[in-house]
C-alpha cells in the first residue's frame, strides 16, 4: 500500500545505490553511487525491472526526478552550474549520509 507516494519529498538529498546486477535496470551506470536531491515526485509506476520479464510490475514503485550537479557526477565538470536530471525509482535511492 503506497498511498502516500513514496518516502522522499522534493528537496531531500539522496544517494543512488551502487548495485551491479543483471536485468532490465533503468538506473544508468554513471549515476550509481552519486548524490543529488529530489526535484520532483512523479508518482507510482509499474516496476519496469519486473515488466521486462513478463511479470506484473507489482508492487508499483515511486518514481522521482532526481537532480545532480554536473560537477558531482563528472570530475572534469568542476565549477559547472549545469545540472543533470535522471528519472529514478525509489528502490534505487537511499537518504544521503
Amino acid at each position: 500500500m503506497n498511498l502516500q507516494a513514496g518516502k522522499f519529498k522534493a528537496g531531500d538529498r539522496v544517494t543512488v545505490k551502487f548495485e551491479d546486477r543483471p536485468g532490465h535496470i533503468r538506473t544508468p551506470w554513471y549515476i550509481r553511487g552519486k548524490t543529488g536531491w529530489i526535484e520532483r515526485v512523479y508518482g507510482d509506476f509499474l516496476n519496469p525491472e519486473s515488466l521486462a520479464f513478463g511479470r506484473d510490475g507489482l508492487p508499483k514503485r515511486t518514481l522521482y526526478l532526481v537532480a545532480f550537479n554536473q560537477s558531482d557526477v563528472w570530475p572534469k565538470a568542476v565549477g559547472s552550474k549545469d545540472k543533470i536530471l535522471v528519472d529514478i525509482y525509489e528502490h534505487w535511492l537511499i537518504p544521503a549520509a
Binding site: R26, P28, D82, I84
Partner: protein
C-alpha cells in the same frame, strides 16, 4: 534477381515480406523475433502494420504546432506545461499512449536538453520516430558529460551564465522541450512560427530557428 543470390534469403511464403539484401546480425535477430511472435500468435501482421502506420503518421510537425500555439497564447502555454496530455488533446494530437508527458520550458537563463542514455526513449506519439543520432552511442554518452559541446556542434553556443539542464529520460516520463520564441517574430502568424520550430529544438540541442530577416 536471376543470379541465384536471393535464394539464400528466400523467405518461406507466409504472408509478409522479407528484405532481399544481406542483413546485419541485429536485423536478422529482429526478423527472427518477429517471425516467432507471429508464429506463436502473440501478435498478428495486422498489429505490426497498424503500429507502423501509427508511427509513420507522427511527425515533428505535431510538436511544432503545440510550441507555436504556446508562443502566441499564454493561457494555452500554461495548460501545455500544467497538463501536457490535455493540451495535446485540445489540439487534436493523441498523446494518450504516453505514460507521463512533461514539457520543459526554456528561458533566457536555462536551456533543457533531452537524452536517453539507456536506449531511445522519446516522445514518439508526438514527434514520431527519433533521429538516428539520438539513438547513437556518441550522443547518448556525450549529452550527459559534454552537453555544451554537443549544442555547439548543433550551432548553439551558450554563454556561461545560461544554465544547462540535461534530462536523462530513463523511465516512464517523456520529455519535450518548449524552445524560446525567437526574437523579432512578433509579426508572424502561428503557421509561420511553427515553421521555426525544428525537431532538434524540441530535443533541446539547439534553439528554434531565427526569424528570417526582412527581405
Amino acid at each position: 534477381m536471376s543470379d541465384g543470390h536471393d535464394t539464400r534469403e528466400t523467405p518461406q511464403d507466409h504472408g509478409h515480406e522479407h528484405p532481399k539484401h544481406e542483413l546485419s546480425y541485429y536485423a536478422k535477430r529482429i526478423y527472427a523475433i518477429r517471425d516467432l511472435l507471429l508464429e506463436k500468435g502473440v501478435i498478428t501482421d495486422k498489429d505490426i502494420q497498424s503500429q507502423v502506420e501509427y508511427q509513420e503518421a507522427r511527425s515533428p510537425a505535431n510538436g511544432a504546432k503545440l510550441v507555436a500555439r504556446a508562443w502566441i497564447d499564454p493561457a494555452f502555454k500554461a495548460r501545455f506545461i500544467g497538463d501536457p496530455k490535455a493540451a495535446c488533446a485540445e489540439m487534436g494530437i493523441d498523446a494518450a499512449s504516453i505514460n507521463e508527458f512533461v514539457v520543459l520550458e526554456n528561458t533566457e537563463k536555462v536551456r533543457h536538453m533531452v537524452v536517453c542514455t539507456l536506449c531511445s526513449c522519446y516522445p514518439r506519439p508526438i514527434l514520431g520516430r527519433p533521429p538516428d543520432w539520438y539513438k547513437s552511442f556518441n550522443y547518448r554518452q556525450r549529452a550527459v558529460n559534454d552537453p555544451r559541446g554537443v549544442m555547439r556542434e548543433f550551432g548553439l553556443v551558450l554563454p556561461d551564465d545560461v544554465a544547462v539542464r540535461i534530462h536523462d529520460s530513463t523511465a516512464d516520463i517523456r520529455y519535450l522541450v518548449l524552445p524560446l520564441r525567437p526574437k523579432g517574430t512578433e509579426g508572424l502568424s502561428e503557421t509561420q512560427l511553427a515553421k521555426l520550430v525544428t525537431r532538434d529544438s524540441m530535443i533541446g540541442v539547439m534553439d528554434a530557428l531565427p526569424a528570417l530577416p526582412p527581405s
